[in-house]
């Protein structure tokens, strides 16, 4: 699979603060690529660099195998940080400016994207009269204008209500299905887990890990077991010499195995041979949230 975007050792400092420390990764074509990290981890800085809003101190990046250029940015639909529009202009007139600069879309396309984000009825209202959610919707409409094959979305569900969040998530999934590549920064782990195929995790400007979301999630196998006599079960499981966490409230034990090494049938057999009958045995996929906290040491 070819790369839409390749980052090579990108570094950026603000005075003494090093916001990015040599970040490198590739974004495969057709992926929904989540850039994850806590506040201040460098997500927006990274997106700003690939959109030429900020200058990297060192390193380089390639869009479609070529250095970034205005001509390439015109083909990319982008939403960076906050919706940036002329407050005195209406929604539709703001999109006409996006259209004029980028060359993406027609007047009919403007109406279409406004309908898609449910702003068509308010298209003639001034941007300054929009709510935060409406501003965000307009920014998404601007990014979608002309159906660009690559989208860069920084916190796309910021300011949206739960229905709006669900709609934008579905929109992203639909775009992925129709072959679009989406690069999305978020600190909402649930969001990334639901819509992303790939992810990169940043912590204080450093790339912690990158790859397919499934790979990142299943770094370890976690087996959840339970029995009537939990203390006895703990005693015999100690013989496995594996990391264990006992949850006395839920009356369960979590045993961590290296990736791919957990054998449920063998665990069941082992416990039974030791005189314990399990009443609960399940291989749990580690949630991205847990994995994220592990990786970022939070």
């Amino acid at each position: 699979m070819s790369s839409v975007l390749s980052l090579n050792n990108i570094a950026k400092s603000y005075g003494k603060v090093q916001a990015l420390k040599g970040v490198s990764f590739n974004v495969p074509e057709g992926s929904v690529f989540g850039i994850l990290g806590p506040n201040g981890s460098g997500k927006t800085t990274l997106l700003s660099i690939i959109l030429d809003v900020l200058k990297a101190n060192s390193g380089n990046f390639l869009w479609f195998g070529h250095p970034g250029s205005p001509a390439q940015r015109k083909k990319i639909g982008s939403l960076l940080e906050t919706p940036n529009f002329y407050h005195y202009l209406s929604g539709i007139n703001n999109l006409k400016i996006t259209q004029s600069i980028s060359g993406r879309g027609t007047d009919a396309d403007i109406d279409e994207v406004l309908k898609k984000v449910k702003l068509f009825e308010r298209r003639k209202s001034r941007f300054s009269t929009f709510s935060l959610g409406m501003k965000q919707r307009l920014a998404i409409a601007a990014a979608l204008l002309g159906d660009p094959k690559v989208l860069v979305l920084d916190e796309p569900t910021n300011g949206l209500d739960p229905v709006g969040i669900a709609e934008i998530r579905q929109l992203i999934i639909d775009l992925r299905t129709s072959g679009h590549t989406i690069i999305m920064a978020s600190h909402l782990l649930d969001e990334v887990e639901k819509v992303c195929t790939h992810a990169a995790i940043l912590r204080t400007g450093e790339l912690i890990t990158t790859g397919e979301v499934e790979e990142i999630l299943v770094d370890d196998d976690v087996v959840e077991v339970s029995a009537t006599n939990l203390n006895a079960l703990v005693d015999i499981l100690k013989r496995l010499n594996k990391h264990m966490v006992v949850d006395e409230k839920l009356n369960t034990i979590h045993i961590t195995f290296p990736k791919g090494e957990a054998r449920l049938d063998e665990i069941n057999k082992f416990c039974f041979e030791q005189g314990i009958a399990l009443n609960h045995l399940i291989l749990k996929k580690k949630r991205l949230e847990a994995r994220f906290f592990e990786l970022t040491n939070n």
Partner: protein, 272 residues
């Protein structure tokens, strides 16, 4: 280039504040010259000896061709009004962060600055059109029929354009550096009206130094000499100021080039 002009037009077409200030600008140039014209008529229609002496000394500064010089001089006092428009157009981009959005959407940084350069050029051209219209209306109504050489000093159109463009370029630079409309306008006005004139005259009278003529606003201020009747107070000094205009044309062109080179360089270099 057409795309850049079209985009800038889309930005200002529905911008009420722009049209308000633009309207004020359009009223200022005819207004100020008409005011001076009425003052002149008031003074010279006096039947007293003083009034008649003044009339003889002044001639008619509003008649052509002298009207080109007189009205360029009076009009130049009001560069602060179009400067508000220039400062608004650049600081708005920073306030709304639309400068970065323009880049994200596919303009190069050079495109963005070219757009702003075109704005300042067009605004200067509009001021010049207003000035030309005012001079022709007031000048022709104050000139005797069949008077020859009415276009003799019409090169003041070029001089006034160069001065306006130079001073609006400085206003633009201040807006670009400070990014906040109110602060930029206050500093530009304070510097132009208070700081620089005091500094120029202080250096001239205290230290007998002419270095002040190279100050940013003074360089182009010296393109437009006083009306002839004011020059009669010190005719030799007035002649020197007329002789120096050609040098100040060169200095102003150099200053304008340096100003825009700096703006393009700064915009290219700094984070948005």
């Amino acid at each position: 280039m057409t795309n850049i002009v079209k985009t800038e037009w889309l930005k200002i077409r529905n911008y009420p504040a722009f049209w308000w200030v633009f309207g004020i600008t359009a009223l200022t140039y005819p207004g100020i010259n008409t005011l001076f014209l009425y003052a002149y008529h008031d003074i010279t229609k006096q039947k007293s000896t003083a009034g008649q002496v003044l009339k003889a000394l002044m001639g008619n500064p509003f008649a052509l061709p002298e009207g080109w010089r007189t009205m360029a001089f009076f009009s130049s006092f009001f560069v602060y009004i179009p400067a508000i428009v220039v400062i608004m157009l650049i600081t708005n981009e920073y306030t709304y962060k639309t400068n970065r959005q323009n880049i994200i959407d596919g303009w190069s940084r050079r495109d963005f600055m070219t757009a702003k350069l075109i704005d300042v050029l067009l605004l200067s051209a509009i001021v010049i059109l207003l000035y030309t219209a005012v001079v022709l209306v007031i000048g022709l109504t104050n000139t005797k029929n069949g008077s020859p050489h009415i276009w003799r000093l019409s090169y003041y159109i070029g001089l006034f354009f160069l001065q306006t463009f130079s001073q609006l370029s400085i206003a633009f630079t201040v807006g670009m550096l400070l990014r906040k409309a109110f602060i930029a306008l206050a500093i530009f006005t304070f510097y132009s009206i208070i700081v620089e004139p005091i500094a120029v005259n202080f250096l001239k009278y205290k230290y007998n130094s002419e270095i002040g003529r190279f100050f940013p606003m003074e360089i182009s201020d010296r393109l437009l000499t006083k009306p002839v009747f004011l020059g009669k107070i010190d005719e030799m000094a007035y002649q020197r100021s007329i002789d120096a205009v050609k040098y100040h044309v060169v200095y102003t062109i150099v200053l304008v080039l340096l100003t825009w080179l700096f703006c393009f360089w700064l915009n290219n270099r700094r984070d948005l």
